[in-house]
């Protein structure tokens, strides 16, 4: 048994944020008896607008982007069919199941997991709320390009939400379209590339239809999270280093697993989708102290999702994988 559990199951970035960001979070503790100050929230909105290159009025804050997605479904699903892809970010799938009265998913099938855009466009005959994670979680592949987004939002009865939780890793965003496309909304998070999963700061870059519908949604953020997020966005240069390190490690892990005979999919995020012939690989890895994500609730048997950790953590995963494969053979 390894001494310490290695967490590669939640798509966190393994590196701590810079010292100044940690210090800022600490300063937040001194105001723990108070709700967050509206001026601080306003400051965070300004910084996010600057980072996203949109006017400040298009930013909606939330304690986590998953809650924002849930709120969007809660507010906008009435009278609309909720359309998603399958597999998809699981909390959103669950929220749709609980809150939407009519649902349709487009299955992404192995081996390519491509999205059939014509099929999706043809499904938009009635008012719809379309939610697509881009890159997709758990495949790591980008499903939409600009032409696809334009085709989807052409119909004003369609509201399109693109979850760009992994934007910093893919480098692909449609945020610049939001001002001219009222029916386009984008959700993002500081949980991933900003190394702030524990702070839970999410935001939307919202078109007018979303701004109107969510006008009464006002979220206070925890003081520590708010202070940390502001500090992080003042000097966001560190995320470039984070992303670079993750991508280098991601490509190294992928090459190594490939050489070991596992089928590893191309990824534009900070995780890898792996197809393995080892039965119960998730529980076998857990038994030796390595946590990876079990996809059996959304995908055929044999698929696991592995977050990219530090070099040492990734080496431990590779060794663990070899070990359970040898035991299986």
């Amino acid at each position: 048994m390894l001494r310490e559990t290695i967490k590669l199951d939640m798509n966190e970035v393994p590196y701590l944020p810079p010292h100044e960001v940690m210090e800022a979070a600490h300063r937040g503790l001194s105001r723990l008896n108070r709700y967050s100050d509206p001026q601080d929230l306003e400051r965070l909105r300004e910084l996010l607008a600057d980072y996203s290159r949109v006017p400040e009025g298009h930013i909606i804050l939330s304690p986590g982007s998953d809650l924002l997605l849930r709120e969007m479904i809660h507010t906008l699903a009435e009278g609309r069919k909720v359309i998603m892809v399958s597999p998809s970010f699981f909390p959103t799938v669950q929220a749709a199941k609980q809150l939407a009265t009519e649902r349709l998913s487009i299955r992404l099938s192995p081996p390519t997991f491509d999205l059939n855009l014509d099929l999706l466009v043809n499904a938009l005959a009635e008012p719809s709320l379309v939610i697509i994670d881009n890159p997709n979680n758990p495949t790591g592949d980008t499903l939409l390009d600009r032409r696809a987004v334009e085709a989807l939002i052409e119909n004003p009865d369609v509201l399109l939400v693109i979850d760009e939780a992994y934007y910093e890793f893919s480098g692909l965003t449609f945020a610049d379209m939001v001002q001219s496309c009222p029916n386009l909304g984008i959700t993002r998070t500081l949980d991933k590339a900003f190394s702030l999963a524990g702070a839970r700061v999410g935001y939307a870059i919202a078109g007018k239809a979303f701004l109107d519908a969510l006008s009464s949604f006002y979220a206070f953020l925890p003081q520590c999270s708010l202070y940390a997020a502001i500090e992080a966005l003042k000097n966001p240069g560190y995320i470039t280093r984070n992303v670079q390190r993750v991508i280098e490690e991601r490509d190294r892990v992928r090459r190594t697993l490939d050489q070991l005979g596992a089928h590893v999919y191309q990824s534009n995020a900070n995780f890898l989708l792996v197809r393995t012939e080892i039965p119960d690989a998730v529980s076998k890895l857990a038994e030796i102290g390595i946590l990876v994500s079990d996809l059996s609730n959304q995908m055929p048997p044999g698929f696991i999702r592995v977050s990219i950790g530090t070099r040492e953590e990734n080496d431990a995963f590779i060794s663990g994988y070899v070990r359970i494969r040898e035991a299986y053979e």
């Binding site: 649902r103 192995p110 055929p300």
Partner: protein, 368 residues
């Protein structure tokens, strides 16, 4: 150097399907003939041979008469006949000839049949040489089978080109239990197959009885019954998801057969192809409702042979409804069809909406 490849065909495989007999083991074959069952294997075998590309690189050894020789004669592949058979063939012939072939130096054995044939081959040759299994039986639940005759041809090519081999399961389905509406299976053994995962069908996975699965079946049933209209004839395929629908209507259901419902009443029970076609002549508005087989995703061509290509053609692609719990559907790579008629299979290919809950659909790819 040419590879020595054997071919054995079970001539009665699949004949019970269209007449609703769920198999041809033992005396049931004679009953199938009385009911007008037609041989299934000639077309399957010809399809297989047609799709082998590396025909110049193989030497074919075939079983005599209707166990192989008859179907190869028309092809351009030279062959040598191995063994002898009487007028009526049996499982013993399959075992004896496959043993002779392997002892005579065959490197790969192709067989055309169902789970029963796979069992006989497994008993005879075990893992001495790899096999390619062409699906033609009524019960084709073992994972040794290729997804279609065409895929089997491609697997033969892969073997000739030097692919690895892997062990796959042979399941033993109790045919008497199957006819009594129970699916009783156990692992019979393993056979080696060319390691080309995409051409192999996953083995059948039994339906889940988890709470979420039961609730999901209830949701599906409630939605389907709510959407039913009084003028349409509904042909309900096999499976527990379909039984959920008849439970909702307060009707009995043949678990492993096809029943027909009209205006909330049962108008046909455990129908064979003839019975279904009779009803289709009588009613203009009709709909087939089926559920995929868990694990391998077949909606037509496995387990519900009564829904023949002719039945599917007459009902029409647009009047086919697929239902299945989300648990089951998300475990599938895709839906599959292998009706034995490639045109019908092509017609069914593409995407279809599967009802996975109350007012909840999933667009899933159908492959052949």
């Amino acid at each position: 150097m040419k590879r020595a490849i054997g071919l054995i065909v079970n001539p009665v495989a699949g004949m019970g399907g269209s007449v609703g007999l769920k198999g041809t083991d033992g005396e049931i074959y004679k009953r199938a003939l009385e009911l007008g069952a037609k041989p299934v294997v000639p077309k399957r075998t010809k399809d297989l041979l047609f799709h082998i590309q590396n025909r110049d690189d193989i030497t074919l050894f075939v079983a005599p008469g209707n166990m192989g020789e008859e179907y190869v004669k028309g092809s351009d592949i030279p062959f040598t006949v191995i063994g002898t058979v009487g007028r009526e063939t049996s499982a013993e012939d399959t075992k004896r000839i496959s043993d002779e072939m392997v002892n005579g130096g065959v490197e790969l054995l192709i067989f055309v049949g169902g789970d029963g044939t796979a069992r006989d081959i497994c008993d005879a040759i075990n893992s001495k040489v790899p096999i390619v299994a062409v699906p033609a039986g009524v019960k084709v639940f073992s994972s040794v089978f290729a997804v279609s005759a065409r895929a089997a041809g491609e697997m033969v090519d892969a073997f000739v080109e030097g692919s690895d081999v892997t062990e796959e399961e042979v399941l033993d389905i109790d045919e008497d239990a199957f006819r009594e509406d129970r699916l009783a299976s156990r692992l019979h053994g393993y056979l080696l197959v060319p390691s080309v995962r995409t051409f192999l069908q996953p083995g059948k996975v039994a339906s889940s009885v988890s709470r979420s699965s039961v609730e999901s079946k209830q949701e599906i049933a409630a939605y389907v019954v709510e959407e039913m209209d009084g003028e349409t004839l509904y042909l309900l395929g096999p499976g527990t998801t379909l039984r959920g629908i008849t439970d909702e209507m307060g009707l009995p259901k043949t678990l492993l057969g096809v029943d027909a419902v009209l205006e909330g009443k049962l108008v046909g029970k455990d129908l064979n192809e003839k019975g279904i076609l009779g009803l289709l002549r009588k009613y203009e508005r009709r709909k087939i409702i089926v559920t995929p087989i868990g694990g391998n995703g077949f909606i037509f061509g496995r387990g519900s042979k009564q829904l023949t290509p002719e039945v599917i053609r007459r009902v029409g692609n647009e009047s086919i409804m697929v239902v299945g719990t989300k648990d089951k559907v998300t475990q599938l790579e895709c839906l599959r069809v292998d009706t034995g008629d490639f045109e019908v299979d092509e017609l069914l290919s593409g995407y279809i909406e599967v009802t996975v809950g109350y007012r909840e659909g999933m667009m899933v790819e159908v492959r052949c």
